[in-house]
Symmetry: C2
Subunit: 378 residues, 2 copies
Amino acid sequence: MAIHFELIYEDPKTGARLGRLSTPHGTIETPAFMPVGTLGTVKAMTPEELEALGAQIVLANTYHLWLRPGEDVVREAGGLHRFMHWSRPILTDSGGFQVFSLKERRRIEEEGVYFASHLDGRPLFLSPEKSIAIQNALGADIIMAFDECPPYPADRAYVEASLERTLRWAERSLRAHRRPKEQSLFGIIQGGTFPDLRRRAAKAVVSLDFPGYAVGGLSVGEPKPVMYAMLEETVPLLPRTKPRYLMGVGSPDALIEGVMRGIDLFDSVLPTRIARNGALMTSGGRLVIRNEAYARDFSPLDPACDCYACRHYTRAYVRHLLKSDEILGLRLTTIHNLAFLLRFMADVRRHIRAGTLLEFRDAFYEAYYGRMPAHRGF
Amino acid sequence: MAIHFELIYEDPKTGARLGRLSTPHGTIETPAFMPVGTLGTVKAMTPEELEALGAQIVLANTYHLWLRPGEDVVREAGGLHRFMHWSRPILTDSGGFQVFSLKERRRIEEEGVYFASHLDGRPLFLSPEKSIAIQNALGADIIMAFDECPPYPADRAYVEASLERTLRWAERSLRAHRRPKEQSLFGIIQGGTFPDLRRRAAKAVVSLDFPGYAVGGLSVGEPKPVMYAMLEETVPLLPRTKPRYLMGVGSPDALIEGVMRGIDLFDSVLPTRIARNGALMTSGGRLVIRNEAYARDFSPLDPACDCYACRHYTRAYVRHLLKSDEILGLRLTTIHNLAFLLRFMADVRRHIRAGTLLEFRDAFYEAYYGRMPAHRGF
């Protein structure tokens, strides 16, 4: 087995889980957030900096690495871990989400998807077999089945047909997988925002017996209560003993609500992307550092934070760097947001263990969003 | 005295000097190269990374910091050292070079220079008094007199008139200086490519008794032999006991030729700027990492280098990062080029001490440029 998941504790009040996910490149304490390193680098960061912040695993994008530098280059380099100098676990997505984000000139067929490169427009084709072959070449610890992520909103007939195809693609992904002893292939549960389709997808994917399961097709524009409702339909149908991954989620509220619905893994570009736009996640909520108000503010980005950026620099300086398009500005805001979110997840794990997750959630919502949770279902 | 210069050794064969320049923020072993941090940050680097590479002093640009974030913000932050989290020495230029690089809508008068902001075109005015006031607010250890840097080529009448004005501006800079106990004001010797004007400028500036002297207006397009000839006219007229700074020079050949003509300090954006364009300074000469030839080259950027980039990454990976516009690519190439050039200067100091500078120069030229020095004057 390429991975082993140990379920350490389940919170009887919320359903939150503590786990330990062992992979060929090390162990991940769950629930965990995975920073995204699209092209084999978490933007602006070194691997050592990520490790120092407590990142346990990073996600890389199959579609992007297929186009640049090409999976052959990565394989010849000795695999993605060596290529990018990251010795801890890696998860690659299947490319499905990226392909379906490219809405123009895309044609979905049973065999796979025909589409145009976002770089130069040249025609490309991706299928379950191709996606898995690329992921086998990249060599991540966890790889994902090739799926279709339907847009939101989408009508029921479309989502149902898409789901059936995604289930057939899941079987083909399993059959195409050449390195099951080194790489664990996760199945993905789609079904849009239709509860019965979500349940049908969960049962069908689970019947294929993957070593882990992802909930896909959420956080794509639907209201958050809908996302949470879909988790409540899906997660109870997943085996307790296998890891569960909610794809594309990185806002603190959705992380904690996902954890309380039994999710173990999350990924999102959110903390790193908003960092480069100057939006900081702080103990007092979001802070837009480019604002004039911070021009002469010589306090740290977040007084409650002990990250490198907060220890040594002021809001005025970081604002100056971002206004001047300086690379160090992008580095400092990225470091801070990842420090914030990875510490947040460590806090979540600690409060699960202590049985105080609900109290932590309520206090966090009040400090960060200035309100109580909209969903008091626990 | 804000600074103290100790002349440790003069090489009888070449005129190269070893010195120790003490400032309120630490001591610099000379000859030294100063990385440029235009806006209060050496692009892509943290101060800790600079220190680890052996950077002893950085240069910041008065004109740029005046516009953004404004010298008042820097003063309120506690000065530039605190603002940018750099506790070692800083030198600020006078803004003269930047202003004279903006050729459009510029009017030079006796009082100062009227010109338009490169950011938004608004009218600006810089004079010796204004430049020194800004530099006093920034608080660098070494500050520079406000001067005019004539273009190359320029006719003799223009250069002569410019030089006379620069001499008057040097006196005004001295009178305007409000913090001589904390900041040392260096005079600048101009004179274009006219030997007698260079000599006249040197004598006149030296008669004003600055704590250090810069040779300006070189490396602006003239052939290198002309630059070296101008140094040979100028440097012998400078007092042995004071530091000498050749402005805007950062190519290895010009550094070593400058050292052999008695220069102690250099600055240039060259290593950092070409790094961001993917040009690497290596033990085998310049290497353009974006070239297709490196797509599957899994060797280090420079096999002879022990910098962070060369220890952990391959040419193929760094090429991929630069081709993909990834920030980490800019970080790695910048780290490498600064490591290369700062180590080069440490080698130069070591070979001065050992009496083997000429041999080092000849071997370096052959390895780096594939030829012997064009100037065998020593």
